[in-house]
């Protein structure tokens, strides 16, 4: 299981109604169904992913996150999850608002661009970081809105979004302490539990 997904699991109450934005092949929704008995719906744009998710017995909607979510009623889900998609949408700020309009709570994960390796790469080579974790070239990447842990928390403050909990994933398990103590420098993946 992807580490960020294992962290999120703790914040999902049994039997919750969960909407997963950018659910991919449905791996996480299936996990939530098994471990938390949630009623889940996934939104996905890729056809093969949708077929894979439907084959897991999940309810999936083909929809483009960038085209908006106004077809979902206010407060129609307990939790809206968006794992590793914030940096790939056109308007990350608007989608955060939408998540907390549709759900009582939101869970967001994103890669932290403030990680020391990114900073070192940029500082020493003067080029956009390319790594195993961020494998794309700057001109051909789905990730168009990178941010740092600090950027995200400032945005939440500006928007009046309350951070219920946060968790950081570092390079390895032994780095968890570093990642949680100095997340902006040591977190590879940031995980936030938010509400309004």
């Amino acid at each position: 299981m992807r580490q960020d997904l294992a962290h999120i699991l703790r914040w999902i109450r049994p039997g919750a109604r969960v909407l997963d934005l950018g659910c991919g092949n449905g791996e996480f929704l299936e996990l939530l169904r098994e471990r938390r008995q949630v009623t889940g719906t996934g939104i996905e744009i890729d056809g093969d992913n949708i077929t894979a998710a439907v084959a897991r017995g999940l309810s999936i909607l083909q929809q483009d996150l960038d085209a908006g979510l106004d077809n979902f009623p206010d407060q129609s889900f307990d939790t809206v999850v968006m794992a590793h998609a914030l940096q790939a949408v056109h308007y990350p700020d608007r989608i955060l608002d939408e998540m907390l309009r549709i759900g009582r709570e939101g869970v967001v994960t994103f890669p932290n661009f403030g990680h020391w390796q990114c900073r070192l790469h940029l500082a020493s080579r003067g080029r956009m970081p390319v790594s195993r974790f961020m494998p794309y070239t700057w001109y051909d990447t789905p990730n168009i809105h990178f941010c740092t842990v600090r950027d995200f928390e400032i945005l939440c403050e500006q928007k009046g979004i309350h951070i219920l909990a946060r968790d950081m994933v570092g390079n390895s398990a032994s780095h968890a302490l570093f990642a949680n103590s100095w997340p902006n420098l040591f977190a590879l993946t940031a995980i936030y539990h938010i509400t309004r």
């Binding site: 894979a52 017995g57 999940l58 309810s59 909607l61 077809n71 979902f72």
Partner: protein, 382 residues
């Protein structure tokens, strides 16, 4: 009824007929005192009768959805791509029921049948039917077959409208509703196309105000024209370009070529029209297009599709096709959005396909994969 099954096909099938004597009250206020329904089944009904799937046909469809009557039949049933062993509607797992709706012209009681009151063909005096009348008659068929609850009711186009109506009229009698290339109601453009089709038929001198059968005539030219118009709307611009382009079938467009040239698409349309007019009843065509026109899922629910769909209890699969302009993806998304707002369980996919509305009948891999994946879930819920 399946006698031999070849790989991927249900093999040889036979149609059956059930006679119904209990009068069927119709939406138009009239009633049908007795009627026949012709149907086929594929696969085996399981012991607890939970694996039955109903196929609702579209405008010009009928009960022969899969297999062949004779080994040398030129064509199999109309939905052979989707029904059979190993296919999305897998006959190794499901008991599939496919009928010809009343008002049809393939064996079920319709305008070409004899009206017992007059001993003449019903013709234009056959009651106007609505989609709900079909659903009620299908429910009676289910009663007779001993099926309390369908594992799924499935339909494309007009068939998808029947499936949705099932979900509202008999919410406890289906677990899944599969709505393919359909709409909550027709658009003005769609109404207009149907009106042209009916006008073509009615303007044929052989139509005789619908009483053509009394004189042993058939309004073949009108019906053929109606079908040609319909056929264009079932295909996309791209599909027609791919299939025919500007290829000539005969003649020449060279300088000095005096005779008329004929494009491939012309001969194709004529062939489709003449085939159809030789096998379909004009009054049925008028009846079916009117049922399409009159259908409006939410009419009696304050014109609110959300309020309407709150009456459903089943799960939904909605499928649209990218180049379908007769029942466009936007129409399917209206269904999906109403289901979301009604907080119903729905899966939606828009299949990239160049074939237009007809795509729902075609072997498009992603469509078949997606449909199969969903039907596994239907099976799990049996």
């Amino acid at each position: 009824m399946t006698t031999t099954a070849t790989a991927g096909s249900v093999g040889l099938v036979t149609a059956q007929t059930l006679h119904f004597d209990e009068p069927l009250a119709l939406a138009c206020g009239r009633s049908l005192d007795s009627y026949d329904i012709v149907y086929e089944t594929y696969g085996e009904l399981n012991a607890d009768r939970s694996n039955a799937v109903l196929i609702c046909h579209a405008l010009s469809g009928h009960h022969h959805a899969a297999g062949r009557y004779r080994p040398d039949d030129r064509k199999p049933g109309w939905w052979e791509e989707c029904i059979g062993p190993g296919k999305p509607i897998d006959t190794r797992r499901f008991f599939v029921v496919s009928l010809n709706n009343i008002g049809g012209c393939h064996g079920s009681t319709g305008p070409a049948s004899i009206n017992p009151a007059t001993d003449q063909p019903w013709g234009p005096d056959f009651p106007h039917l609505r989609v709900r009348d079909w659903v009620h008659s299908q429910a009676r068929l289910a009663d007779r077959l001993g099926i309390d609850c369908w594992a799924a009711v499935i339909g494309g186009s007009l068939g998808g409208m029947q499936a949705m109506r099932w979900a509202l009229l008999y919410p406890d009698r289906l677990r899944h509703c599969v709505v393919i290339a359909a709409a909550l109601r027709l658009s003005a453009q769609n109404l207009a196309f149907n009106e042209i089709a009916r006008h073509a038929i009615e303007a044929d001198p052989d139509f005789d105000n619908g009483h053509y059968l009394r004189n042993g005539k058939v309004p073949a030219r009108g019906l053929s024209l109606a079908r040609m118009i319909g056929h264009i709307t079932y295909l996309s611009d791209d599909a027609m370009a791919d299939k025919f382009g500007r290829e000539l079938r005969s003649g020449s467009l060279d300088q000095g070529a005096a005779g008329a040239a004929e494009f491939q698409v012309q001969s194709y349309l004529r062939y489709q029209g003449s085939q159809f007019s030789g096998s379909f009843d004009a009054n049925t065509y008028i009846l079916m297009t009117r049922a399409l026109d009159y259908f409006d899922l939410a009419r009696e629910y304050g014109d609110d599709p959300v309020a309407a769909l709150k009456n459903s209890r089943c799960r939904f699969l909605v499928i649209s096709f990218s180049t379908d302009w007769r029942f466009s993806p936007a129409r399917s998304r209206e269904i999906v959005d109403a289901l979301i707002a009604a907080r119903r369980d729905v899966t939606y996919v828009n299949i990239d396909a160049s074939e237009g509305h007809d795509a729902f009948l075609m072997p498009i891999q992603r469509y078949l994969d997606m449909f199969s994946a969903y039907m596994q879930r239907v099976e799990a819920d049996c």
